[in-house]
């Protein structure tokens, strides 16, 4: 089970890194999203792997589920979602302003410091 989860997380990160290294914005967004999913899974399983365990110490209960990673991952999901939305808006703004879909937009005159 651990191996399967680890391989799954590794596959997600691998695909995410591959996509994030692209020069166009859309694959980069997809790649960062995949990395975000993998990270969320990692935190989630950082507590422990298992099902049907109570989150509180009940009398007679055998295992315990750790509720903290669930709280952490909820925070991480919300933040990741907001960040992705912002990045999408920013990428659209970049395309609208420059006409080019690229993470590294072409430099304008201001940046090179040439005399006008």
């Amino acid at each position: 089970m651990e191996l399967l989860l680890a391989l799954g997380i590794g596959l997600l990160v691998g695909c995410g890194v591959w996509l994030a290294l692209a020069s166009r914005t859309f694959p980069v967004i997809l790649g960062l999203t995949l990395i975000g999913y993998a990270v969320n899974l990692l935190i989630f399983f950082g507590g422990r792997i298992g099902a049907s365990a109570p989150p509180l110490a009940l009398p007679g209960a055998t295992g315990l589920a750790d509720p903290l990673p669930q709280a952490l991952v909820l925070t991480a999901i919300v933040i990741g979602f907001g960040m992705t939305a912002y990045f999408v808006a920013l990428a659209l703004k970049g395309i609208g302003e420059s006409g080019v879909d690229a993470v590294d937009l072409p430099a304008s005159r201001d940046d090179t410091g040439e005399e006008p």
Partner: protein, 506 residues
């Protein structure tokens, strides 16, 4: 006052939320509320420094949940000093926006306050996951502030800045997930108690987690080779935003300092984690910043390159990890933050005075207010390049004496002296191009887009730090002593020791 450790976070946070309710046309109300909140933050942070200057450590438990189960805000000498520096910088940065820059986009003041809240929280929190949340607050605000006033150049800088920091956030979360999975805690003090007793089989995983967290701090501090985003982003930002961003790299530096000094010592998992590669990277950052300053063709890019130099200088002192190095670092840090922020404000004023040429380093029309601007430039150049008699010189002297142990001294002294010399050369060349070789007569005097008071406050910071050097250096020394003593901090946060039975591995 029991809430004092939490208020520097709460005041800007509430102010930001309330500012979102003020309609955009009511600019006067927005300005008054934003400035009022910032001044209140300044007063509170002065009170905080006064409260902790006797060596006491204020621990604020959110919801009265005891650490390590709840989140704590901890005010010791270091965090109180950093919060005071934040608000001391925020007042001139906010003033710089008050003459119209704030109206060139939406919600400037709300975002500014969110940024203050995020930075103050990052300095004060005692919990690594809460540190992640505060980083995200300050990052989200900074993404939007960087794009304030719009334009392709800012979008261009923003895209790389956002993409890079999203990767950084993912790395931070991976580090935190691994750390929680192996250690069962994310509270810094609790971590410091538990790291020496971690099982030998877990040590490699814990080291990976700690390195990932340290890497994220280093990305924020713009260490070589993760520094190429910084000159681009800072030079593209508007004047008040660039001035406020001067403290953003220091958030990474201080977070790393706290992790390195409080959590890592005396444990197999933390041994040799930062040294010696951090020294190499710090020297690389100084070299990169120096070369970038030589190659810069805009004054704002020069200032951003000097931020890199100061980041590298501070990180070297962090890597040294001795009390004397930390004390020197804590004296140099406020100086370099305020002086580089002053340089950004000055670049904005010069850009406005020169019209179309902006702050490009080419000969052009003279400036109508050449004398006061030139005087401000001279003072800031002396301060930034570390020439006597100002605080930059004192700080670098302390750093030369305090840091550079273990055979690093020749490289360290060479890096400090050469980077200072090159900074002086670059700024002298800049001054001669801007002030002494005008091609045409000055255009008529226009209204400055940035209030001179903002520049004046930042220019006077270095002389003030020089006059107050004994007091500031004494406080910095005491803060370093408190940080390196470790145990009082750990005991204040989680109690006498790790006596709470917890199952880490099922």
């Amino acid at each position: 006052m029991t809430h004092l450790a939490f208020l520097p976070f709460l005041v800007p946070f509430l102010a930001a939320a309330l500012l979102l309710l003020v309609p955009g046309e009511a600019r006067k109300a927005q300005r008054a509320a934003s400035l009022g909140a910032t001044l209140l933050g300044l007063v509170l942070s002065v009170a905080l420094v006064a409260a902790v200057s006797d060596g006491s450590i204020l621990v604020y438990r959110l919801g009265d949940w005891a650490a390590p189960f709840g989140i704590v805000f901890v005010a010791d000498r270091l965090s109180a000093m950093m919060v005071l520096l934040l608000f001391a910088l925020a007042v001139p940065a906010l003033l710089a926006a008050m003459r119209g820059i704030d109206g060139r986009g939406l919600h400037f003041h709300a975002l500014f306050q969110f940024q203050l809240a995020g930075i103050a929280g990052a300095f004060l929190t005692g919990d690594l996951f809460n540190l992640f949340v505060c980083f995200e607050i300050l990052l989200i605000a900074s993404y939007a502030l960087l794009l304030h006033a719009g334009g392709l150049e800012r979008t261009r800088a923003g895209l790389t800045y956002v993409a890079l920091n999203l990767v950084g956030s993912a790395l931070f979360l991976v580090g935190l997930g691994l750390l929680y999975g192996t250690m069962g805690t994310l509270n810094l003090a609790d971590l410091a108690f538990r790291l020496p007793t971690v099982a030998a089989s877990d040590v490699p995983l814990v080291r990976v987690a700690l390195v990932l967290v340290a890497l994220v701090f280093l990305l924020k501090a713009a260490v070589f080779p993760m520094a190429f985003w910084l000159p681009h982003a800072y030079a593209a930002a508007t004047v008040p935003v660039a001035a406020l961003f001067a403290i953003m790299t220091k958030v990474g530096v201080v977070a790393l300092l706290r992790l390195a000094v409080v959590a890592l010592p005396d444990s197999a998992a933390g041994a040799g984690l930062l040294s010696p590669w951090l020294q190499v990277l710090a020297l690389g950052t100084i070299l990169l910043g120096t070369v970038a300053a030589l190659a810069a063709r805009r004054l704002a890019v020069t200032a951003a390159s000097l931020v890199l130099v100061s980041s590298g200088t501070l990180l070297f002192a962090v890597a040294d990890a001795r009390e004397a190095a930390t004390a020197a670092l804590l004296y140099y840090l406020p100086h370099t933050t305020l002086a580089t922020a002053g340089l950004f404000v000055l670049a904005g004023i010069i850009a406005a005075e020169r019209g179309d040429l902006a702050d490009r380093l080419v000969r052009g029309a003279a400036m109508a207010r050449a004398l006061p601007i030139g005087l401000a430039f001279a003072l800031l150049a002396l301060a930034v390049s570390g020439m006597p008699p100002l605080s930059g010189f004192l700080g670098k002297l302390m750093l030369m004496q305090g840091a550079g142990s273990g055979g690093w001294q020749p490289a360290w002294w060479a890096a400090l002296l050469v980077s200072g010399l090159v900074a002086a050369l670059v700024l002298a060349r800049t001054a001669s191009v801007l002030f002494w070789e005008p091609r045409e007569a000055a255009p008529p005097r226009g209204r400055l887009p940035v209030p001179p008071a903002a520049l004046l406050l930042l220019v006077l910071a270095s002389p003030a730090l020089t006059v107050a050097a004994p007091a500031v250096a004494g406080y910095a020394g005491a803060a370093a002593g408190q940080l390196h003593a470790r145990v009082p901090y750990m005991v204040a946060v989680v109690g006498a020791g790790p006596d709470i039975p917890r199952e880490v591995r099922p």
